[in-house]
Amino acid sequence: MEYPKDLKYTKNDEWIRVEGKQATAGITDYAQDQLSDIVFVEVVAAVGESVAQGSACATVESVKAAAEVYMPAGGKIAAVNEALPTTPELVNKEPYGGAWMVRFELTNPKELDGLMDAAAYEKYCQERTH
């Protein structure tokens, strides 16, 4: 299970990478493992749209589950990953790399304060897998 140190994490298993005012988000290795084989991804947020922290930006489906992906922090969408609809399995293979879901400009960087760092998130995941 991977927990890259340069990222921040939410309780709903999203990750966020911040570079200045630009952010990228997706779902974590733990999340893809729980869902198992991903068969469908739909990014519902549109380029140019402002989406608040906690609002749904994508939906992910496997054969046995479906999950909503929420914005780890609010922002204006700059790009969505066009590869995901045709290759949903990227989410299983490269959750932190090729399967990024949205790129956006942060509205309020202070929202990042409430998120977990890699160590805290790893602990959170371990607690859940008793």
Binding site: E61, V63, K64, E68
Partner: protein
């Protein structure tokens, strides 16, 4: 105790294994003050006695095997080939459950896949679900699809008044908690242009029927264009048997096609169980309610089938599911698949044409009666409306005396259509029966 195999010895041995003395002691968690009520119900009857009682009840009815019937309005007296019921009576089909364990349910799964394929072939649409309860609830789910498609930003439904009255009522029932505006059907006879004029940027969907409740056949291409230009979806409610003859609604540009499949090999059965058809285009498949069967391979490389896209459904998605539907009408879907298979390309066309010609023969003859007038202008399929000289109920009473079940009283649903009767003619009505209807109507028109 019918159908319970236990002997006293069995019971004693089992109670001992559980470690309790009596059957009553199994219920210690049930509050004592309301336990074991003395139910006011009759004592049991044997199978022989029950059948005698049921026979008497059944014979207290008038039915379409004994009377000539011209009653339609959403349920039709059609010929059902004997093959259909014999297949429905296969124990492995009717006593099976929903195919959640695909390895031992390929019969149900493949038959359902074939049903989906046959309905797509008939309607011209891309994908069909495994069935809904009936045409009315399928329409309600089409509205849900449209609302979901617009992500809640459009909350108006435009409904033609010529969609079946029960269907429009069901849509209103389903939408009562959803803050949706429904209009377009305030008067019986809104023409296509009136409806199109009411399209705006709040319209999620326009719903029309084909043939409509009054029998009219309309080419909805212009309606689809207008709806799409306004950003709305077009839903067409169909009678699938009519599609044996008529252009499929996919050619108009319909986004969702729903309908009632009772005319495809399902008996009248006093209103149910029937068959809700639900089809749509590929782009809306994930918003579609109901079960879906998809093709795949098994571990041995064989072609097989499974329930798929299940994350849409209630058992996974729960409150975010596309619908709450669980049990649908699987056996009725099988009935229609068998019907369509044994009727085939030629048979379905033939039965549709028979209905068409017989209905037109009847309409011509009734139209020549001095005190009756055919209300329909424009082409109709197998139903038409007759303006009568007297209340429809009075005319039907006289018809009954001649062992004829007359048409539907439209005044019950449309204030402007008092004394108008909706007459349906199918392949089951012989020329003799039709002539009998005409002369009975003639007689009934006198005081």
């Amino acid at each position: 105790m019918a159908y319970i195999p236990h002997t006293e010895r069995d019971r004693q041995a089992m109670l001992a294994a559980i470690g309790v003395p009596t059957l009553d002691s199994l219920y210690s968690s049930v509050p004592a003050d309301v336990r074991f009520p003395d139910l006011d119900l009759p004592e049991p009857l044997s199978e022989m006695e029950v059948m005698a009682e049921l026979q008497a009840l059944a014979e207290a009815n008038v039915d379409t095997r004994h009377y000539a019937s011209f009653l339609g309005a959403g349920a039709y007296n059609h010929f059902i080939p004997s093959v259909v019921d014999h297949i429905l009576r296969r124990n492995e089909f009717y006593t099976a459950y929903t195919p959640y364990q695909p390895e031992i349910s390929q019969g149900t799964l493949q038959a359902t896949f074939e049903y989906q394929s046959l309905i797509c072939a008939l309607t011209g649409m891309d994908v069909s679900n495994a069935s809904h309860y009936d045409g009315a609830t399928a329409l309600a789910e089409a509205v849900t699809l449209a609302l979901a498609h617009h992500r809640g930003k459009r909350k108006t439904l435009l409904m033609s008044p010529s969609v079946h009255p029960h269907y429009r009522q069901v849509v209103r029932t389903y939408m009562q908690g959803m803050d949706v505006t429904i209009h377009g059907d305030e008067s019986c006879c809104t023409g296509p242009d009136d409806l199109v004029r009411r399209l705006d940027d709040q319209t999620a969907m326009v719903a029309v029927q084909y043939p409509d409740f009054f029998g009219h056949i309309v080419d909805f291409t212009a309606w689809a264009e207008a709806a799409h230009a306004a950003g709305a979806l077009l839903c067409v409610v169909v009678n699938p048997l009519a599609l044996g003859l008529l252009k499929p609604p996919s050619t108009f540009g319909a986004d969702v096609v729903v309908g009632e499949g009772q005319s495809l090999g399902i008996p009248l059965s006093f209103g149910g169980p029937y068959l809700g058809l639900f089809t749509t285009k590929n782009e809306y498949v994930r918003k579609m309610a109901g079960r879906l069967v998809g093709e795949t391979l098994d571990s041995r490389g064989q072609r097989g089938y499974v329930l798929t896209l299940t994350p849409r459904e209630q058992h996974i998605r729960r409150e975010k599911a596309t619908s709450n539907i669980c049990t649908n009408v699987g056996l009725m879907a099988l009935a229609s698949a068998v019907y369509l298979s044994v009727m085939g390309k030629q048979g379905l066309r033939q039965v549709a044409e028979l209905c068409y010609h017989k209905a037109h023969y009847a309409a011509d003859a009734i139209g020549r009666l001095p005190r009756y007038k055919i209300w329909n202008s424009g082409p109709f399929f197998h139903e038409f409306v007759v303006e009568c000289p007297k209340p429809v109920a009075d005319i039907n009473e006289i018809l009954l005396e001649q062992e004829i079940v007359g048409g539907y009283d439209l005044g019950a649903d449309y204030a402007e259509l008092k004394n108008h009767m909706l007459i349906a003619v199918t392949e089951m009505n012989t020329q003799e029966e039709i002539d009998g209807l005409v002369s009975a109507l003639e007689e009934a028109s006198h005081d």
